[in-house]
Subunit: 69 residues, 6 copies
């Protein structure tokens, strides 16, 4: 499946922390560069996410902000 | 200023394409890893974004999805 | 590819209206039930979207609100 | 009240699963077509959501992605 | 209609700037406090928005970030 | 740091309610005008949020909807 979201970046699952409804997932997408996602616990289980596993972060471009110092 | 958004990643502006209301901005956040943002043209101008300039992508963790192959 | 977004609904593209940066896409996901998406013009072109073509709407569950009368 | 969100689709509440802060709500919007929403537990209670009750899913069009096979 | 979005704040339309697909709308929600929205041009027209008119900004609580100095 | 999000409004933290993964934060941004945010518990702790403390709500303009009566 090909999705309209402009950002799909391959990485490795570093940490998974399940809550009651949501689960926090941290992926390393480049050496020392991590992205944190909050997905439903249901999705985390369905995707069989596990530490060390390869996965993609997918982000719609309208959800990305830019900041400068 | 410190923000609750969990993801703030430093990068370099690679491309800026202004539309009528929105502007598309591409940043390289690691060698070969790019993130595309759609921000308002007004913001792109206020931040003085320019190709080659350093900037951060900022993404709220609830806006990040995970995919697996 | 399998994505964490809980909502992926098959439909048929009914209308495509390109703007300068964004494109408005209307899909019929059930008889008489339409969903409108704003995606980048770049994505609409990459996905080769065309009226009459089958496609999916994908929506993260945190982006869905509920209303009652 | 009339809202700018382009997508407001009538359905029936199929499942409600409360967490600590958020509640997961599943609506059937057409025969066999379900949409999952994550809303705050506070909102689920204020709206008096209950299984079998009619409700609308409301989705801003910028939050809808498109995928093709 | 009652919506799950936790934030619905009354204000006055101060500025409307239509683009090709999207329209930028600025509302004053308290003396000197403005909120900018990007909605589709189609919605802005359907809602008959006009400068000086009363309207509400509606924001899902998961879309609100917090920052501190 | 200067961010592309068009809405950054100063307020006072009125209530903090931590869940398992997310925390609900209510800010008063003008007399009688409150905004509710759902951020990660991790962020709420990192920002050292506390009732009575000054903070900003930050909202991307694409996440703001407009409603009229």
């Amino acid at each position: 499946m090909k999705i309209s979201a402009r950002n799909a970046i391959k990485g490795t699952v570093k940490k998974i922390e399940p809550g009651s409804i949501n689960t926090e997932v941290v992926l390393e997408i480049a050496p020392g560069v991590e992205i944190t996602a909050i997905i439903t616990k249901h999705s985390a289980e369905t995707l069989l996410l596990a530490e060390g596993k390869e996965a993609y972060v997918v982000i719609k471009s309208t959800d990305v902000m830019i900041a400068v110092e």
